[in-house]
């Protein structure tokens, strides 16, 4: 996976991406026991096009030019199907802005904070998100004040209280 992250870093260096961070199941796996997944969810901030549109096409073009190919909704980068998810709301913007810098072997990368992963799972609200919330509650070291602030800011405290009970 290190090579995959090196490609992502290169996309930032060449300004194809403004910023990225790992989220989804693999992001959660950073903080909890390994969770089965078959793709790598990567949240991205894309540079705005001339018309102000947000589109993944320039990113996909840059990857195709490097020899990578699409597989369904993912782009296969060095053997890992990567699903790029452009940030589309205030919670994701904040999560990406405050993602943690870390290292994977010798390569630097960014992972969403566990409090944001929990908030995103609450907001998404699927059955598998309940399991993610449960795992994060049980195993991740959550900053409770930080979490409470995130949940209040994004109006997720009611659902949090429902899911906790």
């Amino acid at each position: 996976m290190e090579k995959t992250l090196q490609v992502l870093n290169d996309l930032v260096r060449t300004e194809v991406l403004s910023r990225y961070a790992i989220g989804g199941a693999m992001g959660a796996t950073f903080y909890v026991e390994p969770v089965l997944t078959f793709d790598l969810d990567v949240f991205v901030v894309l540079p705005r096009t001339g018309g102000g549109l947000l589109t993944l096409e320039p990113l996909y073009e840059a990857l195709r030019a490097r020899g990578y190919r699409e597989e369904d909704e993912c782009m296969n980068i060095e053997g890992v199907p990567v699903q790029f998810l452009p940030v589309y709301n205030a919670l994701l913007e904040e999560a990406l802005a405050e993602a943690q810098e870390t290292r994977y072997e010798a390569t630097s990368t960014r992972v969403l904070r566990p409090e944001h992963l929990l908030a995103i799972a609450l907001q998404t609200g699927r059955e598998k998100d309940r399991e993610r919330v449960r795992l994060l509650r049980e195993q991740a070291r959550l900053d409770q004040k930080y979490l409470n602030d995130v949940l209040a800011r994004h109006k997720l405290d009611v659902r949090w209280n429902q899911w906790k009970s």
Partner: protein, 70 residues
């Protein structure tokens, strides 16, 4: 309320300990564990008609810890 017998209590405690141990692994080791999970689960999912792709990456063997299915 049903009371667990001591052996079941011991097994559940051990399971919880193991999960905490897995949660504390370094991230690269967890990625290796996810790869093992993918290899374990993919044939079962494919038999049910779901298309999945196991990651094609070279990762060194994980140190002394193997995953268990979720």
């Amino acid at each position: 309320m049903e009371i667990l017998n001591p052996e079941m209590t011991r097994l559940l405690t051990a399971k919880g300990t193991r999960r905490r141990k897995l949660a504390a692994l370094p991230f690269p080791d967890k990625v290796r564990a996810v790869l093992q999970l993918q290899r374990m689960v993919a044939p079962l999912w494919r038999a049910r008609g779901k298309q999945v792709r196991v990651w094609k990456i070279d990762e060194p063997a994980m140190r002394n810890v193997t995953p268990h299915a979720p």
